[in-house]
Symmetry: C2
């Protein structure tokens, strides 16, 4: 079964909203191992919806439309489908009653226009609504089918799972088609470039190309995700979930080995794991607490950390020292320049002291657009203050780093200078994730007792 | 000229990335007054790209493809276009030299595969690259045309502006087509619901429907933008820019009058103006500085404020008091419960005092998932501490608010209790923008000398 997705709505064509439904459907069809070769978007125009439906039915076996089932005169997906089916629309009195009930339950009378939502192309089956007023439709056309779903994402998603996917699965079985599944896993990395990643993994990709079996295949792809780093996506096609999981596990091991040998600790997590979650896990394992002192990032690091559920266990808080005076008064920096290695370390130590955290992180720099204290935009200093037994033994290897030095009994600190690309907002966001990555690598390195982290 | 957009890339069909290029192109075509009735997405498969191109050329006058111009074997948009044009691909030695130069300038040799990027369908014109290696193509097919652009957004956008739009404009003139423009303006609101907004503006929408002229039309639409509030989009079609601007100005006045009469100060800005920019403007006009003390929002408010260029003039900094101990130690709260009206006020006063800011904002509450101090998730308290001459004279009107009271000589404070919907992350984000909105309305109210703000 090849499924085409047709998103209906003029606001999509005008770029006023993104086609998140198309993306969601594509992702969930792929996860179910169902092919989808074409997506279309079309405006709220009956003739053009008809055209798009005819094109879709000519090249695909099933079409899922989203949108255009509402109560207003703009909502004409029903009419267009009836035209393509060459049948009349019939108003279903039971559906009218159900929409009336929906409004009654909210203490309101049904506006007369909502009765249109009970119009059903003759021969179509209704998908009941559980969350709103627009019912969905299953519309057979010979051995092909059009599924009409509402455009409201959570209504669309619920109907897809409950009614569309089972129907597609039945059609797939009936047609004796592929019974397998497609599953994928994402390795998330920070600290390397897309081309370097591709170069390192090319031999593995070539080997996989040669290893495609009759019912299994493994592929690798790269996705640049901006401030969330680079993703390596492992995708497998397999007869069932168990085989898919086995293949994914084996491939993850291969890829991790290649990446570790080439770049070190660049993989910070899998799938939806964020950098802050990776940091949270390391801190909790080591029973450490964290406090941050931020200048150019202005609270970005703290707010990312607080996004992690249960952050109160290990996150103490932060000081956003945007004005220099706040750096002197609250964090106790000596009066003087504040965009320096020393200032970053002093901020980290201030965070440790003032916030009562075992690990202090300090970050200062210039987001731009103008230089500050003669320092160019994109220059960022990240300082860490840690208990001595947590920090890496020995020095650090990269030339941009100063030697860790003991500032207080039993504690040590380190600092990194970063050069980050982009405009003001990008520099701030890159700075935030880079600082968290430095902390992550430092904690990892400490555990392993090897040399300190390197960071671009 | 009717333009169809064709996004090429299997990752789009699989939902791995969103089709941001399609959205961007739709928005910019609409802004130029060029119709676009269909969008398609297709995978990296030559036969299917050919099918999609043929469908597009049958129902549109011009096609813009994005993606599939890279150096790898996956990149086959060039081949597919040549097949549809029924011409061979010819390698352009000058283009090869240019790609080689691109690599040479970065101290690298061109990988042999990149030579493919110099393949041009016979009869096509090259759009030079200024940012990457993949040149764009203008491919005539009779009186129709296919524009092939790279998939990297900033390369695509630059080529569209520089080469595609002028070419489309010339075609439009040659065909004697519509010479008008479509322009729109967005009014951004916070503090009301989509249905209330729609209800209030329905009479105006009905009046506009009756007032469509031969060359002009004005329409209103609503866009729910989640944590960025609700947008009212005014769109006009007019013979030229000057008339469009006049119509937009007149309509903005009408809509603002309706909204002000129904809801009060719900419009916080137009187009790309963010809530933090609106706040920044009011603070600067009044020569005030701001400091924030955040609990559940964890730095979100501070980081939004720092996003405003020039924030250092009026933003002093913040304290992220996530752990209660930090509230006591840095902000000087009395030991005791920290999710209360009093705590929010004390945090605002602490921000004022500790950060040396003329206006202090304090926010505390429960993001969830679990209750804290017996307070339900979604409950948030926002406190403000202001110089007396800035704060609203007289009391506040809404029942949820406590009376402003003088806490220190020449200063006053107020507090609001909010009930916010959604999960942990949504509550935090709603809390951040609600707190900024409270500050905005308080500053506005003070200026007008009327009663205090009301806030849901």
């Amino acid at each position: 079964v090849r499924v085409e997705i047709l998103a209906v709505g003029t606001e999509l064509l005008l770029g006023q909203i993104a086609d998140t439904n198309g993306r969601w459907l594509g992702e969930h069809l792929a996860a179910a191992g169902i092919d989808s070769h074409f997506h279309q978007s079309v405006g709220d125009n009956r003739g053009r919806i008809v055209t798009a439906l005819r094109v879709a039915l000519a090249r695909s076996d099933a079409v899922i439309t989203s949108g255009g089932l509402g109560p207003t005169q703009d909502d004409i997906t029903r009419e267009a489908i009836a035209e393509v089916m060459n049948v009349p629309l019939v108003r279903d009195p039971e559906l009218v009653a159900r929409v009336e009930e929906f409004f009654a339950a909210r203490g309101r009378a049904m506006p007369p226009s909502n009765a249109r939502q009970a119009d059903v192309p003759q021969g179509a089956t209704v998908i009941d609504q559980t969350r709103g007023t627009a019912p969905g439709l299953i519309c057979p056309l010979g051995h092909k089918v059009v599924y009409a779903l509402p455009g409201v994402p959570h209504e669309m998603e619920e109907m897809f799972d409950r009614a569309v996917l089972p129907d597609l699965d039945r059609r797939r079985r009936d047609s004796g088609g592929m019974r397998g599944v497609i599953r994928s896993r994402v390795l998330r990395t920070w600290g390397t470039s897309e081309s370097a990643l591709a170069e390192a993994l090319q031999p593995r990709i070539d080997a996989l190309d040669l290893a495609v079996g009759p019912s299994t295949a493994v592929t690798l792809a790269f996705l640049a995700s901006g401030i969330e780093g680079l993703k390596v996506r492992l995708t497998v096609r397999a007869p069932d979930d168990a085989v898919a999981a086995e293949l994914l596990d084996a491939e993850e091991k291969e890829v991790r080995a290649v990446l570790a040998a080439t770049f070190g600790d660049v993989v910070f997590g899998t799938d939806e794991t964020s950098m802050e979650q990776a940091v949270a896990e390391l801190l909790q394992e080591r029973r450490l607490t964290l406090g941050v002192a931020e200048s150019l990032t202005g609270g970005l690091i703290a707010s990312r950390l607080v996004d992690v559920p249960g952050a109160s266990v290990w996150f103490r808080g932060g000081v956003v020292a945007y004005d220099s005076a706040v750096k002197y008064s609250i964090l106790g920096l000596p009066e003087g320049p504040v965009v320096t290695e020393d200032a970053a370390v002093a901020m980290a130590e201030g965070a440790n002291r003032v916030l009562g955290a075992s690990v202090g992180l300090g970050i200062t720099g210039v987001a731009g657009p103008d230089p500050q204290e003669g320092v160019e935009p994109g220059t960022v200093f990240v300082g860490l203050s840690l208990p001595r037994d947590v920090a890496a033994p020995g020095g650090t290897a990269d030339p941009g780093a100063s030697d860790p030095s003991t500032r207080a009994s039993g504690r040590t600190s380190l600092v990194r200078r970063l050069r980050l690309p982009g405009d003001r907002q990008r520099v701030r966001q890159y700075a935030a994730i880079s600082a968290l990555d430095l902390l992550r690598r430092t904690l990892l390195t400490a555990e392993k007792g090897i040399e300190g982290p390197t960071l671009g």
